[in-house]
Subunit: 233 residues, 6 copies
C-alpha cells in the first residue's frame, strides 16, 4: 500500500518529521511518500496561509497520484483543502485534525486540543463543530508558540511549553485525552502519553493509520455528490 503525506507548508524539516512519524507507525507493507510544495507559506497560521497553501497542496496531491498513492494525508491541523483533494483523486484523503478527533472519540469521552497560536483556536473550534465533535472537545489551548519554533534545532523550549499545556489540560479541563494540534508536534505524542497518563494523540499517525484502515477495508471516497471529479468548463 502506498500512502502520501502532504505537508502543505514549505518547511522541509516539518515534512521530515511527518515522514519519520509515519514510518514508525506504518504497517509492514506500507510505503510512505512525504512531500511539501516549495512555494507555500513556511507555516500555516491562519486562513490566509491556508488559502496560500492550496495551489501547492493540490499540485502535490496530483503528483502523489502519479506516484500511485492509494491514500493521502493532508498533514496540517487546519485540514486545508480536504474537499478539493477528495474531488481530484480517487483514493481516500484524510485530514490530521479529523483523524485525531474520530479516533479520540473511540478512546475517551472528551478531549482537549493543544495547539500553537491563539489565532488558530477558533479555526479548530469550528473544525470540531463541523465534524460533530464539539460536545467532546472540552477546550482548545494555545501554547502561544509560532509553528516554526517547533522546528528549531533545539526544540526543547517549545516542547516544554507543549508539555505544560498538556498537563494543564488534564488538570483543569476535565478531559480524558489530549490531541496535539499541529503536524509539527508529531514527534512528541508518545513521550507525552507516557508522562501525562492520558492518550496524547497526534493526528499525523492517526490519519496514516486511518488511511491504511480504509484502503484495507476496500473503501474509498464517494464520487456521486460533493466529491465528484471537478466539472470540465
Amino acid at each position: 500500500m502506498k500512502i502520501a503525506l502532504i505537508n502543505p507548508n514549505s518547511t522541509a524539516s516539518m515534512t521530515d518529521k511527518v515522514r519519520e512519524a509515519a514510518r514508525k507507525a506504518a504497517a509492514p507493507g506500507t510505503e510512505i511518500l512525504a512531500a511539501n510544495p516549495a512555494d507555500a507559506p513556511a507555516s500555516i497560521e491562519g486562513h490566509y496561509d491556508e488559502a496560500a497553501s492550496l495551489a501547492g497542496l493540490l499540485r502535490e496531491i496530483k503528483k502523489a497520484q502519479m506516484w500511485g498513492a492509494d491514500a493521502y494525508v493532508v498533514a496540517c491541523f487546519d485540514d486545508p483543502g480536504l474537499g478539493a483533494c477528495r474531488e481530484i483523486v480517487t483514493g481516500p484523503v484524510l485530514g490530521i485534525c479529523e483523524a485525531a478527533m474520530h479516533i479520540a472519540a473511540t478512546l475517551a469521552t472528551s478531549f482537549s486540543v493543544v495547539t500553537t497560536l491563539g489565532r488558530s483556536t477558533p479555526i479548530i473550534e469550528q473544525a470540531a463543530r463541523r465534524y460533530g465533535m464539539a460536545h467532546l472537545c472540552k477546550n482548545v489551548r494555545a501554547a502561544e508558540i509560532p509553528v516554526l519554533d517547533l522546528e528549531q534545532e533545539d526544540g526543547s523550549a517549545a516542547a516544554k511549553k507543549i508539555e505544560q499545556e498538556t498537563r494543564r489540560a488534564v488538570a483543569e479541563d476535565g478531559c480524558e485525552a489530549v490531541i496535539l494540534g499541529c503536524a509539527g508536534m508529531a514527534d512528541l505524542a508518545a513521550e507525552l502519553t507516557q508522562k501525562c497518563g492520558v492518550p496524547v494523540i497526534d493526528g499525523v499517525v492517526c490519519a496514516l493509520k486511518m488511511c491504511e484502515a480504509i484502503v484495507g477495508a476496500g473503501l474509498s471516497t464517494s464520487k456521486i455528490g460533493a466529491y465528484a471529479p471537478p466539472r470540465k468548463k
Copy 2:
C-alpha cells in the same frame, strides 16, 4: 463609500450582472467596483473550483484595497476564502450566502435555497450549519443547471427552471422565503419575489447592503483573533 464586489470566477458576464445588481441597489453615495480574476475557473462548482479561485480572489481583494474600498463582497454563494480575505484587509468582508441567510432570518421563520447543481447542495447545507442557520433552512434544492447556463445569451430556459424550483420550494418545503443560491441569479430575485409571493432573496444585493450598513455603523472586522493580519514568516 466604496464597495468592491469580487466575483471569484473568470466569467466577465457574471461580473457584469453582479455589478448591475449592485448598482441598482446601492445607496446614493456608494461607489461600486466589480471585478474578477482573469485566471480563475469559469465557474465555481465544487470544492476544487473554490480552491482554484482563491489566489485570484485574494489578488483582486488586495487590488480593491488599493482602490480604497471601504468594504468587500465575495460574490460566490460558496463564500470561498472569507477568512483569508478578512485577514488581509481592514474593511468588512461579506459573503453572499451568509448575507442572504442573516437577512432571511429577520424576514421569515424559515427559508429554502435554490441553487444550480446538486453537487453544491452539501456545501450549502454545511454553510447553513456553520452559520447557525440550519434550523431555518428547510431544504436546499438544485435546479440541476450548470452555472454558466445562467450566462447564455438567452438565459430564459435556466431562469424558467429556477422559477419552477422556487415555486416548488414554496409549495412543498413549508418555507416562508427562498434564497437564490448563485451570484449568477442576482437578476432574477425581484421578478421572482413578485411572481412567487414570498421574499426571493439574492445574496449579492444582501451583501452589498450589509456592507453599507456595517461601514455606516462605524464597524469593521475584529483584528485580535482569527482575522488578525497574516503573520510574517
Copy 3:
C-alpha cells in the same frame, strides 16, 4: 426612507438616546422617528416587564405605520414582541439583539455580551440559542447595574462599569467582539471600540442600518406563514 425606532419602555431619556444614536448613523435620506409608549414599565428588566410593555409597543408600531414608516426597530435588547410586530405591519421589523448578533457574526468568530442585570443573562442566552448564535456567544456578562442607572444625569459610574466588564470580556472570554446588551448603552459603543481594541457593537445602530439595508434591497417580511396578518375573529 422612514424608519421608526420604538423604545418599549416609558423612559423618554432613553428614547432620546436611541434617537440620537440613530440620527448619527442614519444614511442621508433616512428620516428617523423615535418614540415610546407613555404607559409602559420605566425599564425592561425581565419577562414581566417585557409582557407589560407589549400593548404599548404594538400601539406605537401601528402609529409608526400611520406615519409612513418603511421599517421598524424594537429598541430593547430582549427583542420583545418581534413576531407580533411583524404580523401587523408590512415593513421589516428588526430587534436590536438579533441585529447586533447577525452583524457580529460577520466581523468576528465570537462575541461576548455585556448587559445590565444578571436576571437578563438567561434571556440573552436563550436569544443567542434561538437565533442560532450560541456557538458564537462566549459569555453573557452582567455589569449588575439597573437599566435606569444608565439614564442618570451623570452616567459616568454606570459607563465605567460597562467599560470594566467589556475589558474583562476581551481579556477573559477569548471573544473577538463585544455586544452591548441594552439600548441604553447606545452612546457608549464608539468610544469603547476605540478604547478596547475590538468591535464594541450597539444593537440600535445595527438594527437601524439593517433596516436601511433591507428596505434598500427591496425586501420585506414574508407574509405567507408565521408573520401573516392576524386573523380576524
Copy 4:
C-alpha cells in the same frame, strides 16, 4: 391542592372544556379553578394574538394567586407568557406544550404534533427547539382548522380532521406518539389514543398532572435568576 388553569383567550366554551378535562384527570384532593380573561382575543392564532392575550393572562394569574392557587397552568399550546407568570407568583407555572413534550419524552422515542392552523407550525417548531425536544419532534402537522371550529356546537367535522391528521402522523412520520397542539382538543385525547394505537397526548391534562407532581414533591419555581419577582421601578 388548588390548581388554576388560565385559558388566555376569551372563549368561555374552551375554558369549560379545559375545566372538564382537568376535573376528570385531577387527583382526589385537587381543587380546580378554570378562568379566562374577558378582553382577550377569542383564540390565539399567532404571535399577535399571544401578545394581545398577555395583559389578561397576567391579571387572571394574579387573581388565581389571591384565590390561593398552589400551581398554575397556562392553557394555550403556544405557551404564552410563561416567564412573566413565573416572575409574579411563587407556585409553579406549567405550559401545556412544554408539559406534553416533557411527558411524551418519557413514553416514546419520538412524537408528532397535530395543531390547528399552519401559521402555528413555526411557533411550535421553535418551542420544541427551545425546550430541547427538536430531536424528538418528527413533524408538526396542521389540520388547517381555525381554533374556534373546535368550539362549534357540532364539533365533529373538526374532530374528524384531527383524527385524520393523527392517523397520518402515525402512518407517515415514523412517530411513536402524537401530541394534540391546542387546548381546544383536550376532549379528544382519550378516544384518539384508543382509536390510533399510540399515546395521543393532551397538554392540558399533562400540565395539570405535572403541577400536582411538582407541588406534591415540595418544589417550586426558582427565584434567584430569570424568574425573580419583577423589580420595582
Copy 5:
C-alpha cells in the same frame, strides 16, 4: 395506584432511603413497592456496574409487574436499562435523572448537577445531551465521595460535602436550581432547598410524582416502535 421503585444495586439501606422518600411524597392513594436485586453491585459507579445491574433490575421489574405495578421508577441516576424496562412492561417507566431534568426545566432556566464521583460526570453530561437538556445544564459537579459513603451510619460527612458542592454550584455556576445526582441523596433535598435558597431537586421523588402524573393522565408507554415488547426468537 401502585408504583414500584427498583434500586438496581444491592444495598438495602439505599432501597430503604428510596422507599422512605417515596412514601413521604406519594399521593394518598399511592401504594409503594421498593426493591433491589440481591445479586447486583453494591453501588452503580460507572458503565460496568450499570451493565452488571441490568439482569437483576429486569428481574425486579418483572416481579413488580406481577405485584400489579401501574408504573415503575428505576432509582439510579445513570438511568440504566430504561429502554429494556419499557419493552417488558406496559406501565410507564421513569428514570430519576430524566425525571429530575424534565421537572427542573419547568422551574428554572438552568441547573447544575451534584453527583458522587467524577467518573460519573461524563455519564451525566451524556444523559443531559441525550434528553435535550444540555443547554440547561450549567455544570456537573462531583463531590468525590463514593456512593456507599452516603449509607454510612453517620452520613453527615458525606452530606456536608454535598451541601458544600451545592452551595458552590449556586455561587459559581450561575445556575438557578441544583439536581442531586444519586438516589442515595434523596433524603437531603428538602433541607438543602431550605438552606441554599434554590430548588434542590431529588430525582427519586420527581420520578415517583411523574409516574403518578402519567398514570393519572391515563397515559402509558408507546408500544408501536422502540418500546414494543421484545420479539420472540
Copy 6:
C-alpha cells in the same frame, strides 16, 4: 496483533460470518478471534435483547483478554455495552456502528443507514446523535427483515431486500454513502458497493481496521475518567 470480535448474540452462523469478513480484511499480521456467548438472545432486536446480551458479552470480552487480545470489536450495530467493555480491558474497544460512522464521515458528506427492523431505527438515530453524526445521517431505513433471516440457508431473499433499500437510499435520500446497519450484513458490502455505485460500508470491517489502526498508532483507551477500571466495592 490479536483482535477479538465478540458477537453478543448466540447465533454461531453470524459469528462465522463476522469472522470471515474480518479475516478477509485483516492485515497480514493480524490474528482474529471471533466468539459469541452461548446464553445470549439469538439476535439483538431492541433494548431488551441488548440488556440480555450484556452479561455474556462481558464474559467473552474477559476471555478474549485472557487470550491476549490487543483490541476488541463488539459486533452488533446497536453498539451494546461499549462503556462497560472499555472499563474492564486495557485495549481499545470499537463498536461497529461508531466505526462505520467515523469512517463514512471521511468518505462522504452524508450517509443513510439500512437496517433490519423498524424498531431499531430510533436506536440508530440516537446513536448517530450521540456520536455527533446526526448532521451526516440522511435517513435510517429498515428493510423490515428479522435479523435471523440474514442467516437462513438461502439468504438471497433478505439480501435482495437489503439491496433494494440501499438503492432507494441512494435514489431518494440524497446520501453519498450507505452504512449497513447489522453485523449480519457483513458479507454484502463489497458486492453492494459494486452494484450501487457508492461506498456501502460494513461496520465489522471498519471496526476491525480501526482497531488495527489504533493499536498500530500506539494508542489505547483513556483510563482516567469514565473508562477507569470498575471500582472495587
